[in-house]
Symmetry: D2
Subunit: 173 residues, 4 copies
């Protein structure tokens, strides 16, 4: 099953809401994706799953990663780039089987004005290094707190238009 | 006390050896630095010290960070950029008191050929975002496993020359 | 004399208007800057002033560059980054006397939503490579066409606040 | 016809030699590419072909760009990134017909130690912005002056191995 990765372990994050929105929209077009939220990482991943170690909890996550061929990463902006926990998760994944020659689409999310341009660019560099194909159309959602309504849908027509276009490209990727 | 940060929690890392080398060289010039190794982070930092939480263990580390005015970051290359644990550590530090209007010098380290150019560039973006002044002269040490001798000194004259130049600039920064 | 560089050779550019605004604001604080507009580059600079060649026209520009110690670069967004003409200008300048160990502040400008985050980041990489100190506080002005009024002043209070803060830091840099 | 673009207007550049080597290797695998050397740009391109202007000379180049679906960019390192002339060329090309939804492979070249990692990363950002698919496997050739022999062939077995791998991926891209 392909995966949407919600790129933070913060509880009740906007990123997870965006992940659910993408899942729903992709499903409408007939594309099934599971969601992997980084909330579900082992609490002590920094010690149990780096440098050749592997916990039972992460082993189950690794199976999902290894099985997926196409990823959507939802990437919030922390200190001007992607969250440390997202890169730590990448560093914990088996290399090269996790991402080599696979495909990913990237979605930047921020509470500020710029939609995590820098974090998405940095993450592109990491993904390309791991030999992952990146969809050129990257979506940047600034002021995320204003974007999602109570039903966790986007209501801004311009945001919806860009997301729709990216979703079409994800399906044909 | 100013700080040299060894940017990985891997045991017996080359980054920590490089940190010790910098500490020794800086001391020869009369500049005292403590070393903070990311090995000493709480094992479950991803749950205890993000999003407004603070553990007792990290509180002691935070005190050192808050007191320092000048940092040297030793940054190994993991998956083509800086380690996730390094950014997670940054995300855990108090904002903006930790790094705002302070200064840092950056040292890239890799076992491969390129000395972590990309990771040091990405980290520059994060540091500048946090309003930290970055020393323009950044050192990139490729093939680190060949660089350090048994006494944990650098023996390559060209590497030594660049490190020496950076250390002079750190002292005057 | 220190220099504000308007980073495009487009006629009647918004970047030049921003350059004039910065000049006026800096002068109010007692800091004198000349403006160098890339409109004034030789038409055939790509052939006359690269790879060791030097035209008489550029020689006069080079004198100004060599004399300045502090620069403000106004950087519009072209194709998602800085203009080619700006990097070509840098490539034409004498190395290392032009920028080595000097200082610069960066201002991104775009007609789109993101204020040239990427272009300013890329230019930071180039400047640091040339050993230039970059002011961490970088200003990003999106939707520039809406920002400047007929008197070529900024009227948005939030933009003015950030510009004011950067100008204070430029003066103390 | 698909195109290999030699990313500098410097005469007798190593980039053009690398372009010819790639052309030869691709031809051996049955893939025909023309070479476009930036030496052939109009001398005053900065005035004749930006901001909606178009010279007769560039119109012929534009036709080739518009016809190509797949590009290989050979990118030398100037001042720590790609050459200004390469970005100026991109800025001069018609948008979006030139590169939108097309594909490119990137090759960094430097006389120094790092093979233009930074320039290739920056150029990836520009290409992705223009919605161009970038082959994740990017080749970085440091110390280019030592790499090419008199017959303009690469002789280092490791360089040859990586180039070979990239060429296989270009053909299947």
């Amino acid at each position: 099953m392909n995966l949407i990765i919600s790129g933070t372990n913060r509880n009740r994050s906007n990123s997870l809401k965006v992940a659910r929105f993408y899942q729903k929209q992709l499903e409408k077009k007939g594309a099934e994706f599971d969601i992997l939220s980084l909330e579900d990482l082992p609490a002590n991943i920094a010690h149990t799953d780096l440098y050749g170690n592997r916990s039972e909890d992460f082993a189950l996550i690794q199976e999902k990663i290894s099985a997926a061929k196409l990823f959507v990463f939802i990437i919030p902006e922390y200190n001007g780039s992607y969250p440390g926990i997202l890169k730590l998760f990448i560093d914990a994944c088996a290399y090269p089987t996790s991402f080599h020659h696979k495909k990913a689409a990237l979605v930047g999310v921020s509470s500020g004005k710029y939609g995590n341009i820098r974090g998405v660019d940095h993450f592109t560099g990491v993904c390309n290094y791991m030999r992952m194909h990146i969809l050129p159309l990257k979506i940047h959602i600034p002021l995320i707190q204003n974007e999602l309504d109570d039903a966790e849908d986007f209501h801004d027509p311009l945001s919806l238009k860009f997301i729709e276009e990216q979703i079409e490209e994800i399906i044909r990727f």
